[in-house]
């Protein structure tokens, strides 16, 4: 393989007709270029959509109560019900492989009236009564102070963690936030932390939330044992989509809801949504590979064709070599190496141009600002390695038929004088 004479010969052969070599290599380079661009575009789309999901734990479902639609055990249909705290425990006891269950109660909401007062300033915000785990399911950055912890839960402390949007509306610039009080529906809470959420496309809404301990919330706003909403995350490796049936049936059993009542318990399976998008991405990847490889194939056929012509031209030379005692496999190896060398070099050029192109696109994207659903198109090292493997394989493929025809040349025919 690392034989100086062999390489010298490969270079001699390929440089003997420079224009033809360039024209041939263009086909393969172009194929790889298209493949890289397609994969990068797919990746860009993927990055864009993934950014919308943010850091949310995707193996999560959300569950809330609605009205019953079937009567059951003497209870009428159309009944309003609410989850209870004991349901949370029941789920924990009956369903395995769950990581977090965060019950939540909520005040305010979309377009709600002003519910928070501080001094002369008022604002309308979502107020959540939460458990500490929620920060693992709905990630946010604590910019000062701390988040809710279990001492807050146990002590039913009236503390609040406010978003940056809340801070901007209720406080003047530069004002101390930690340790001050805000009045939520007439009840004072001490601010112990501020947070910022990654911009998830929801605009300012995500920054205008207030988190208080679940227990303090229940007490302050007369929720009793009620739970408005739950976020349930499964352990990595087991999918929430498979567990949700069980979870819902546990809750139905506890709340005396007809097992066939499909509309009493509302839920949203984030994982299913996420998987749907994931499968879209892998479909995109397949399309990219499919189209790229097909374009590459025409390049490979080009290389194969040229190798056949080269062998036709070198028939006599191959005959001489055979007469001088070169073994058939050595000739075959030579042809295959020429073909692989040509494919790899031209593929590399395609990869380099593809990378430059992506670099250019990124530079343009950076200068014009973010584009919806398209972030940082790129190809990973893995893709480049895959491309190289495809190239080596295609080189072999392109060289195989010519090599086979080269060793079929019998020296006696090749040497027959004109």
């Amino acid at each position: 393989m690392f034989n100086r004479d062999r390489w010298k010969e490969i270079l001699e052969v390929l440089s003997s007709n420079v224009f033809r070599t360039l024209a041939t290599s263009f086909g393969v380079g172009w194929g790889i270029f298209i493949l890289i661009i397609l994969l990068a575009a797919g990746k860009g789309l993927e990055n864009g959509i993934r950014a919308d999901f943010g850091d949310i734990a995707t193996n999560t479902m959300f569950m809330w109560s609605r009205n019953t639609t079937l009567s059951y055990k003497g209870l009428p249909k159309g009944r309003r019900f609410s989850f209870k705290l004991e349901d949370v425990q029941a789920i924990k006891d009956n369903v395995q492989n769950l990581r977090f269950i965060s019950p939540r109660n909520q005040l305010g909401g979309f377009g709600g009236g002003n519910n928070v007062v501080r001094g002369l300033k008022t604002g309308a915000f979502n107020v959540y009564g939460d458990y500490p785990e929620i920060i693992r399911q709905e990630p946010m950055t604590i910019t000062s102070g701390r988040f809710v912890n279990y001492n807050d839960i146990l002590g039913k402390r009236k503390v609040a963690i406010i978003g940056n949007g809340v801070k901007n509306e209720l406080y003047n610039k530069g004002e101390t936030v930690l340790g001050t009080y805000i009045k939520i529906q007439g009840v004072n809470f001490m601010v112990v932390g501020t947070y910022q959420k990654k911009d998830d496309g929801g605009g300012e809404e995500g920054q205008k939330e207030i988190y208080v301990p679940f227990t303090a919330f229940s007490q302050a706003f007369n929720m009793g044992n009620n739970v408005g909403w739950m976020a349930i995350t499964a352990l990595d490796g087991s999918s929430i989509s498979n567990l949700k049936e069980k979870i819902v049936s546990v809750v139905k059993d506890k709340r005396k809801i007809h097992p066939d009542d499909k509309r009493a318990v509302g839920y949203f399976d984030l994982y299913e949504q996420y998987n749907r998008v994931e499968s879209l991405f892998s479909a995109l990847r397949w399309v990219a590979y499919f189209v790229g490889v097909l374009v590459l194939l025409s390049g490979i056929i080009g290389v194969s064709n040229i190798m056949l012509i080269v062998i036709k031209e070198r028939t006599k030379e191959i005959g001489i070599r055979r007469a001088l005692g070169e073994a058939p496999w050595s000739i075959k190896k030579q042809i295959l190496m020429e073909s692989i060398f040509l494919t790899i070099i031209s593929g590399m050029i395609g990869i380099i141009f593809g990378a430059l192109f992506i670099y250019g696109v990124n530079a343009v994207l950076d200068s014009v600002g973010p584009v919806d659903m398209f972030v940082n198109p790129s190809v990973s090292l893995g893709v480049v390695v895959t491309a190289l493997v495809i190239l080596i394989f295609s080189g072999l493929l392109a060289g195989f038929i010519p090599a086979q025809s080269a060793i079929k040349i019998r020296p006696i025919e090749a040497l027959r004088t004109e």
Partner: protein, 233 residues
């Protein structure tokens, strides 16, 4: 060195079969310089191809340096050719993008001789044919006689048992032909066995033995008094 017994060869051409060699018997001793003569169609090229393992016979035995040559696959034939035989062709058959020295070194490359040794040997044989100064030149920069001398150097480089020359002077004018024959005679003087296929009587007279072929059989096999080519050079 070479023993041939009852060699037959025929070519199929459609339904007809052309019987080219009809039972050839002859032996060549070490150090001989044999001319194989005959008009075209006499089977002399076919005989040379069989001797050169470029073609196979239909029946009969061929023993080269006590090795029976039979049942050859391509790989084995290539190895035997490389080890036993040196070829000189009418049209020189040099590889035109390789320099004279590289052409000469080619058979050694197939013997996996180390690069440095290869180059030294190539220069040595080029010197022997008087072309050391032309080592770096491409065949296109050489005259016909020079090309043939490079080809002879290449044939010698592998130190073969037998040198097979197919009309070595066929493409050369008579003065250059004699120069090449002079070289061949000197190589023969050094003890090499050489077979030359030719149809030129003056070239045949410069050998030590003439085998005359006609219609696939040997009609004459005689030892002759060698005419030295030196006197014409």
């Amino acid at each position: 060195m070479i023993q041939i017994k009852d060699l037959h060869k025929s070519y199929k051409m459609g339904k007809n079969s052309l019987h080219v060699l009809k039972g050839i018997n002859f032996n060549v001793e070490e150090g001989e310089l044999v001319a194989i003569m005959g008009s075209s169609g006499s089977g002399k090229s076919t005989l040379l191809n069989i001797l050169g393992m470029l073609d196979s016979s239909d029946s009969g035995a061929y023993i080269l340096d006590n090795v029976p040559i039979k049942d050859l696959n391509e790989t084995k034939a290539a190895r035997y050719r490389n080890k036993f035989l040196g070829f000189v062709f009418q049209s020189f058959n040099l590889i035109n993008y390789k320099s004279a020295a590289e052409n000469v070194a080619l058979p050694l490359y197939y013997q996996k001789v180390p690069r440095k040794e290869r180059q030294e040997k190539a220069l040595k044989y080029l010197e022997q044919v008087g072309l050391k100064e032309w080592a770096g030149h491409l065949p296109s920069e050489l005259s016909g006689g020079q090309k043939q001398r490079v080809a002879i150097a290449r044939a010698l480089a592998a130190e073969p048992k037998v040198l097979l020359a197919d009309e070595p002077t066929g493409a050369l004018d008579s003065k250059t032909s004699y120069e090449v024959m002079d070289l061949i005679q000197k190589i023969n003087d050094a003890g090499n066995t050489i077979l030359i296929v030719t149809h030129e009587p003056d070239i045949a007279d410069m050998c030590k033995r003439i085998v005359h072929l006609k219609d696939g059989v040997i009609i004459e096999d005689k030892k002759i008094e060698q005419v030295r080519a030196e006197q014409y050079v």
